[in-house]
Symmetry: C2
Subunit: 319 residues, 2 copies
Amino acid sequence: MHHLTEGLVERGYDVTLFATGDSITNAKLESVCPHGFYEDESLDAGVCQWLHISNAFEKAREFDILHSHYDFYPLTFSRLTSTPLLTTIHGFSSEKILPVYRKYRDNYYVSISNSDRAEGLNYVATVYNGIAVDSFDFNDAPDDYLLFFGRISYDKGTHRAIEVAKETDMTLKIAGLVADEHRAYFEKYVKPEIDGEQIQYLGMVNEETRNELFKQAYCSLHLISFAEPFGLTLVESLACGTPVIASNKGSVPEILIDGETGFIVQSSRDAINNVPRVHGIRRQNCRRRAEFFNVDRMVDGYVKVYETILEREAEQSAM
Amino acid sequence: MHHLTEGLVERGYDVTLFATGDSITNAKLESVCPHGFYEDESLDAGVCQWLHISNAFEKAREFDILHSHYDFYPLTFSRLTSTPLLTTIHGFSSEKILPVYRKYRDNYYVSISNSDRAEGLNYVATVYNGIAVDSFDFNDAPDDYLLFFGRISYDKGTHRAIEVAKETDMTLKIAGLVADEHRAYFEKYVKPEIDGEQIQYLGMVNEETRNELFKQAYCSLHLISFAEPFGLTLVESLACGTPVIASNKGSVPEILIDGETGFIVQSSRDAINNVPRVHGIRRQNCRRRAEFFNVDRMVDGYVKVYETILEREAEQSAM
């Protein structure tokens, strides 16, 4: 949420960021751990987590609003302070965590897409995650390959992208991390298909290469099989002018405009059939759509949420 | 802490136990999880833990004192309520958790032995863990074997007990759990010595067998190599009249009276030399010493701690 804190500071808000001590920010920084506990064996994950959260709540009176991006944990402190707590839910990791949200349903919530909402919670709004669109170059004269960008996994549909490339006789470039838990999937469904020609695997790439890959792609393939809370890579592709063919799952219909910035499909067959039609998409439309998800709009969205919360709090204390 | 809650209820105190729903207690029971999360895959450990603790603090105003036996976690909520929090520290699991205690050093603490104290914490008292001495039968005419009772591990010194048995030509009965992390130790240092005659391994035993094992033992061997916070099995042995030969570590010198209820030793050699001298110990002395650690005394100890806390709180609010 670097973009959010920076955006708020730029607009003159008094922002304190509770994060590790090595965080780079123009906000005031409050930290109890010098750096992430993954990077330092002398730190205990639980200790960092509990001290981090309690520190914020012990100082809650200094703030008009506490804004949490830290899953359900801070909710459990919320009734012990009168400062309102806003929680942005960046996806539900498991059904098992829902009891906490249910108990604290009257807190304030933001969803990151309309599709990613649990029933009965007090949502103030959906605020889409934003990207710095300016940091992506628009390109109207791309190359002719297909692109899979993102974590390699069954859910993300790397194997479906391969199927589409083979059926359409096009080149596919794959870039992204193979996490340990998806290693077996990669070995079985992806690696045997890599020939360095038609199917290319580039591993993890840096930001520059990522932008170049998006810019030059004929189209991106996002054939997920799960309800993704928010598909940030779709927006990144669109920012470069590159249309996306994506499954009709999760946040996809809120990001893509079917037939205008890509195609929303029901199956691999459907995706294959739509590949030739990408020629008919105006790449300027894609860029324009990406601007809808610019960081400024995200910051605007949150400012509006904060104002709503302060109004509701004022109403309640007036009652 | 079943004995403590029951003891307090018997004395007429108004006690609410925050625990799993299947807890058996005469106190009022408050629970957020029906049973332990280890027993139920539908429960998330983190969810149970955070909801459990927040539930107690959300109701803190109903109580004069909150008494935590739950490690450092509740400390992080302590500044968000005016109800005093007492924490009994049942040992420090790691150096890494000390930063939490240091931050909340002004809370109230009880140590379970004088030996198990961290510097700089606001300790009100040491309250030794108690056992129901009456549930152990005193026996003045024991058999002639040595006993190792407890978890099988290097730290607990099972191999040292074997060494002592072999050097003194006595039978050793070993009873206790082999945890996964100590399986390799068991396989290497204990299992090859088991012959079913001189060195016997009985596995985990039920309460009845445990009491019988203690009752009939010539003496117990507790040749630990770590600073054990409180050696409850020493007290159980003493309750049956069975002397203990134990290392000069952790809480041992606070439990055993050297030469009166057993011997406190510096080495295996020292232990071996003292085995014949156990004949000279009066088993009645052992039983009498165990009574010092009866549950009643533990309850007395905590009542006194609670009174001290309430006095100090009253002084502070009068200032």
